[in-house]
Amino acid sequence: MAMLDSPRIVTSREGFDDSYTMSRYLATGGYEGLKKALTMFPEAVAKEVDDASLLGRGGAGFPAGRKWSMLRKSPVSYLVVNGDESEPATFKDHFLVERDPHQLIEGVIIASYALQVSQAFIFLRGEFALGLERVQQAVNDAYEHGALGSKIFGSDFSLDIVIHPGAGAYICGEETALIEALEGKRGFPRIKPPFFPAVTGLYGEPTVVNNVETMANLPWIVLNGGSGFRRSRWWTFRRHETLRFGRTRKQPRRLRNRDGEEHLPRFDLRPQPRWRNPQRQEDQGLHSWRRVGPLVWSRSSRPAAWSRRSRRKGIDARFRFSGCHGRNELRRACGVAHHEVLLERVLWPVHAVPGRFGLDRARDVPPRARWRSHGRPRVVARPL
């Protein structure tokens, strides 16, 4: 498949043990995107991102370029990076923060330049102690290198980045709650309207809140151009999103989280081939294909899917969304006895999500027809 040749964007340094150090980052083309961005006009950088039709990687999939264009003109505005990743079965930001902090920093600097913001905040959840240390070290190194601070690389642009550790609250992943937490209050979401922090955000000033992975994409976009980013696409969004967001139908690869009953849980970066025979499937990493039951697509705020014939045919059986099925049917299909209520207790709220596609976070589920050509999303959970 041609998609296998598409470039690695945010995970290009995955193979290096010292991928978080400044020396490795510079040796692998680090801060080149920033240098190029500083030779462009800020509006041109924003236009590249708009051309790339980069969708926000936090889950809601709002186009980053459009979010930026909504920023109200003001003498003071802020950029906030949302690294409060706490959705169950999601760990991509954790990986990016620990393994490639400089890429995040570079993305933040580019975004700040495009938005002409002189103060940026990176809000990371406090549980990422190692990630916090690495990002702080990266900021210190970037200052020494001249990529941060006053007059970055000899240009007129100055920027400061503050790392803010969260104090442990799931709700702070919501952008207005995150802003409240950043101001030092309880992380309660704000009452809307105003609907967007781009109007009234941090300290009452216009603020852009973006996800860590969105920021990590920016150096590549600037280096290769927005059209280059769009050409590297392989993921198709659902039609209703096409209607809503116009030409943002296809997206370049994004990180998907893969864990559970697998030999090598890691990020799913490539479309997986179908598993026609069990041996192949073993090679692909499943411990036991007989025991695959309910599947949770990458986040638990999404209906679980399960295989009606999972015990007989393994993962190759047809999956159905469980939203339209009863809990007993789900339990029987997974081969779980009544007394093992633990599973039911856990899965019930998941599969009781109203509507077929559930909450607004359920965005990166491919249409079923695409599974064959693009490979199916991988297993996240298994029955007890």
Binding site: L132, G149, S158, A167, G184, G260
Partner: protein
């Protein structure tokens, strides 16, 4: 004050041990045996969930998703991932912590980040106050515009 402190999980209203051990029992970890690991930890660390052991060394906590689901069940000591997924590994970790062999990579509770911010932008006071005045003027203008 208390409302804010009790809102966040990482703030403790009572003294805790030197090592705060958090074990995730959210869905991915639960399916991988997080609950069993938590029950094992109660016996091996000598404290119930939410309490501190008698020697003041360990506090055991049940946590929500820690975003390390690829190595489930997820265990943290002082908010650092230790990647012990089996009861045996947890016992070994507890022994190492007791004997102080992990002091280099796991500082005692209370130290979250060992890397300090050594840099920052230096701005003239007049410049800062000018920016603040401009921001306040813009806010006032906006507020008066909304009222009108």
């Amino acid at each position: 004050m208390r409302g804010t402190a009790s809102f966040y999980d990482m703030f403790h209203l009572e003294p805790v041990g030197k090592y705060v051990v958090g074990i995730c029992t959210n869905i991915a970890c639960l399916l991988a045996g997080g609950q069993e690991l938590l029950e094992h930890a109660e016996t091996s660390l000598g404290c119930a969930v939410g309490s501190t052991s008698d020697d003041g060394l360990f506090t055991l906590e049940e946590t929500e998703c820690l975003a390390d689901c690829n190595i489930a069940p997820c265990v943290q000591v002082n908010h650092r991932f230790v990647r012990t997924t089996t009861p045996e590994a947890l016992d070994q970790l507890a022994n190492e912590l007791r004997s102080g062999r992990r002091d280099s990579d796991i500082p005692s509770h209370g130290t979250l980040i060992r890397v300090r911010r050594s840099v920052g932008l230096r701005a003239e006071k007049s410049e800062v106050s000018g920016q603040r005045a401009a921001a306040k003027a813009a806010r006032d203008e906006r507020a008066s515009g909304e009222r009108a």
